[in-house]
Symmetry: D3
Subunit: 287 residues, 6 copies
């Protein structure tokens, strides 16, 4: 079963709110490359696991971690939708002026349906779809599905990173990119354990993103979210918690899940969003 605390796994700060970026972030929440998908995928694979228990344990840990990523991104969407300073994406990627046109406007449903809140949908407002949750009953198929999810996920995160010059958002994405680095490797570690796996050269995907820009203290660490003192940790003496990483660039290690971020605090509702009167008046009150 599951537990929570009120803090974020990593700091989420937005210096210059930007609704277009809020829309883009939705892809990482509810898109096919996004966190709802990996969260449910790893958890369903765990719940359906009929093989060795260690894989079930590993999947439970990482599925639980992904919950915290959805939380971070939903918070980031909310923060990008509030505040007084208008600041569109100006210093957009590279030397190609067409890029700017592609981004388009925000998502009107952030206001119309959410009152300035995140949606369980992608960057075009297309809802998350449960068909994306792969749990095949074959551990190798599942691991490839997971590597694929983390590869397209990390690629998406690096593109979001390039799209923004907001320091807070870049910091958050540098953390998420690092976690994707690790997650790619841990699924490949299972494949190695099951046979013989060695595809170091292509990792981490995309390999064109300089790893110096990701938060490397998290790039090769397995995060253990299990709080039961009586239960053997999933990670002890596993291929994915010690020894050289699959890409040969570091050593695996294991850390206990621990929030780095604070409890998030959103701005009060704007009047035009027509929250309940009491909700507006008591906004931010703790009791």
């Amino acid at each position: 079963m599951f537990y929570h605390d009120k803090k974020l796994q990593y700091t989420v700060k937005v210096d210059k709110p930007n609704p277009q970026f809020a829309r883009a972030l939705q892809q990482a929440i509810g898109g096919i490359e996004g966190e709802i998908r990996v969260c449910l995928q790893y958890l369903f694979q765990a719940w359906n696991a009929r093989g060795p228990v260690r894989y079930r344990d590993m999947l439970l840990n990482t599925g639980t971690e992904e919950m915290a990523h959805i939380e971070m991104l939903a918070t980031a969407v909310c923060l990008n939708l509030q505040g007084a300073h208008s600041s569109v994406i100006e210093s957009i990627v590279g030397d190609d002026p067409l890029m700017e046109k592609i981004i388009g406007g925000g998502d009107p449903r952030h206001f119309l349906s959410g009152g300035m809140g995140a949606l369980a949908a992608d960057a075009n407002g297309v809802p998350f779809n449960g068909s994306w949750v792969v749990s095949s009953g074959n551990i190798a198929s599942d691991m490839f599905a997971n590597v694929m999810a983390e590869s397209t996920g990390r690629t998406l995160a690096t593109r979001l990173y390039e799209m923004t010059d907001d320091a807070g958002m870049k910091d958050m994405l540098a953390f998420l990119i690092a976690r994707d680095t690790m997650h790619q490797q841990q699924w490949l570690a299972v494949l190695e354990e099951l046979g013989h796996g060695d595809i170091r050269g292509v990792l981490p995907i995309p390999n064109s993103f300089p790893q110096s820009q990701e938060h490397q203290e998290f790039s090769y660490a397995f995060v253990d979210t299990n709080i039961d003192p009586d239960s053997r940790s999933a990670g002890q003496n596993r291929r994915w918690t010690q020894g050289p990483s699959i890409d040969g660039k570091s050593e695996f290690r294991e850390i206990k899940a621990q929030p780095v971020g604070d409890e998030p605090m959103l701005a009060p509702p704007i009047p035009e969003g027509h929250a309940q009167t009491e909700q507006i008046e008591q906004a931010g009150q703790k009791s």
Copy 2:
């Protein structure tokens, strides 16, 4: 952020495996009345919350609890898909023989796509859809959405209860029905707090299900999943943790989240499902 242990919130036991019932249980996992919907709905409402902090806290707790319900139901699906004894639903509900025809067969994707595992889909295999996740930014709208979800959810659970004579499944459902009883009330408690609410007569919905059959020790208890000792619990001195329940039938109380069930242990893969060879050979091994 989120944590887990390896045990189930409540015992999940299947005496007579039944693939048709596995299919029916999918409605409670991935259907519009199901647990993935309420889990994401409460969590998105929490993450998007701009009003008083106590509502955000409450939503986080119950959203986290719902994760454990998906886990229980996914485990129940897996257990209904395994084993040697064929036992179709015989003593189906009531005196209407047509009922039996309605149930139909199992879901072939349980084998074809899942290798005898649960899906993120409803009883007809229609995938979970993120559009069902309501988070409107208006706390009263959201609370009505939540009451509605728990009312259709409890109605579904009582129908599943009537469909089976498997003691283990009836026991699990009696727990889930009790939790729905509580959840209906806690959202109404918010509405009461925000204005003046009193709709006791209709509760719990459906009121035609005898409450003596639900596990009443859980019917009026708020479950606190927050493990941070430094963080004030969501439930202390709240309308939904003490005082008379909204239906006037009991007193609210608060309990710490605690697993009643064990760590689940599924049967090994069947050969025809073509898991990896190593997965079959090492099934059940802890390390």
Copy 3:
């Protein structure tokens, strides 16, 4: 705007309730060939109409009529889900025993989600999808979309007709098949009016269904649902209300919408469906 009475456009009677047939009927409600689609398609074409007013008028009439068809079919689903007599589809079509296997079981969501009620979904429980509503702004494109909808719709209705030996269901379908005959022709009449159209030989589609089995008094009659005495009727002196039918087999005429059927009366809820207690106790009460 819209009005109603409490009676059905045509009689809906079920002699031998049959949940499998209830499932099959769903295709005619919420499937791509079904009545929700044509209802919304004709109404959106009317509301978006920028050409001559007479086409807008015609579309409004037939779109309104289709509402009554959804109502008839939903009633038919409910009646097939109730009652004490078990009677599976025995004398299924033709000399091919495989046909029987294809039909499969009922839809478990009729009980689980609907408490023995119809769904806005197709025969596999896949929800109605608004993308099927074609309103292109080009009247000829729209008319072809409408002929196509009525052709696949009539084909579906004849297959349902062949699937059942229930006299009541055959009677209802004979009416709906006749209406599809007319609707195919009225859209083709617009094409004729706009240019020169003559495709009589293939009509009505499918032409392999003997028209003697459809209720021919409705096969060439335009139904006028407009109740405003001050508003010129859509049908007066139109190509689709007088003169030879497009298939050359009859004369068009116009009739005022008039219920042939009675107010439907469903059986009370079964206890296992857990309606509210009051709902069960007061079932059928008029006040």
Copy 4:
């Protein structure tokens, strides 16, 4: 069965056409908070009703009324897509400049697929989905589903109201907001009748919208769309047609459905939309 006239339930006038607002209005047509959903939801609940007849009657009336709301909004979309004056949303809500960015552009499918017509889709072009139509067979669950639909629906309508300074659009929305006020209450009146219901303080949701801005002559009136003189009206002596309103702010009353608006008249097709030649030449002709 169903009938129509050619007029609108309430006046729909657009002073300054605005494609962005046309896009936003789509949420109220084909979104989960929109009118297609409530229309089908109330009608399916009526058609599936197995309890007391008075609830079936009430649902039929209001389901029929909602058809007229889809019609009004589709007309509003069409009017916002035509005309010579460019007038983007300038005086957008409140003091938060970010709001303006959120709205984004129009929906290209209004031109590409519709030739300047409305779609059966939401503000992001996501099609209406039949899974949103809740008809559970439990009248209390259904009533909560209906209150929820009208709460999120009224919240959406107030947000649309804040987004525009077009007098015609504000007038139309003030009517729709009033109808949502009534609809919230009539479903709660059923809950009161079934048990004991009193949640007056939170109503109407959102309670932060000043009711002086809604058309209050429609805020507490049950609209009877039944035209059968022989059939007892649904509303006579019902909890929802007389006595104090649920929110304690007024008295319920009943009115016969009567169009306030005129027959809509759209501009002819623009040449670039490539309607048929005859359609363009005869645009607006009555015969």
Copy 5:
């Protein structure tokens, strides 16, 4: 079975890259009026064909041709997303300034999910849906479905034609419009063969688009994609390969499928899209 070469069926050239137009083109790829739909629809009708072989043969040819249309449009999307010159749609259709607002921005998923590539989705990013593929088993129903698809498809293509002043894009669309002209007629030719069909006046739909602007050498030519020298061609002596066209404006003829366009050559990945390093370095290399 199927074969390919590396060239395009017709030239695809983009003079002024335009991401908004790239978004609009998606409607012709993955929208309900688009090429994936007709491709799969004709092929499924062929594979399911139980009637005379000549219809199966015809469907196979045209289904195969449509593959090449998806290819052309996907290439056009890619070319509109690359290059150094910013050139928004300026000389947009007609004299109505509102049109410009409707188009909105680009699709952010072209960058976020595709790295500047096309998607299997419509202009709003809504994914292609298999429910649109009509194959009814009744050849007349299927032919009307096909005429409808080509009518809405040609209408869409003419609107795209009006939206752009890019010579390359206009040239490509003039080809596709011509092919739609032919395809409308060939399905009607089947209807004529099956009965008696003559609806010349409305063709080609839309008839308001001047045919002098389409590439008329392709407007009445059946394209034979069958490469098996031993297999009798589908088109020999068929109603759709010789004799007067259905619209009476030309003569049908048959041509062997032959690429007019070259092998496409896209620009290298932009650095911000984070392709693999090797992919960027070796871009355009042939071996």
Copy 6:
């Protein structure tokens, strides 16, 4: 562009028609593990390819091959839906009697919507969804997506193989399983070429299926569907056309695409499916 002949890539023969198996086969056509997905995925990756030309070439070849696989499976569905002998799945997999229950009945839409034809949908009738088509712009991400598709696809095919004792169906599946073996390896060959890849031990996935049962002459052969004599073949001297296979079990080779199967010939329409009269009368006629 694309070409076809009228024969099947491999023989498709059904000895004992079986509608339940027809339903199961739909998963391999329109399911997330199915052939429409891989076909469109490889083709979109080709059309969007911005890296070295050799990858684009390879993708075009295999995407084209997959078209032929959809064709084979659609033919197999049709053949399983026709004929006079009733033969349900009796000797179902393994020693677990529950398996039989899981399969359930057929898909009623095979008759109702298709007149005994295949659908673009999965085994539960859920339509194919374009969101499954992954084309990320990062070649390594794409290759992992492709390995995943072929791993879940081969797992599905082996499960279908275990479900049937029909010699024709086993023969067809043995071919498709062999092709999946090859396709897994060729995508891994790209990864090897891009870096350093060696994961031989787990291959082919699932490794629990005895390769002696697949048609091994196709297990390590790249199929070249390119018919342009002037265009350099994709496969010459490529990692995936010569040298040891990735799993170390064989040598890669290249073969020209060549049909092994015959032109399919389906039974005439059954009368109850109401094809057009002419279609029934002329069934099987070649001209």
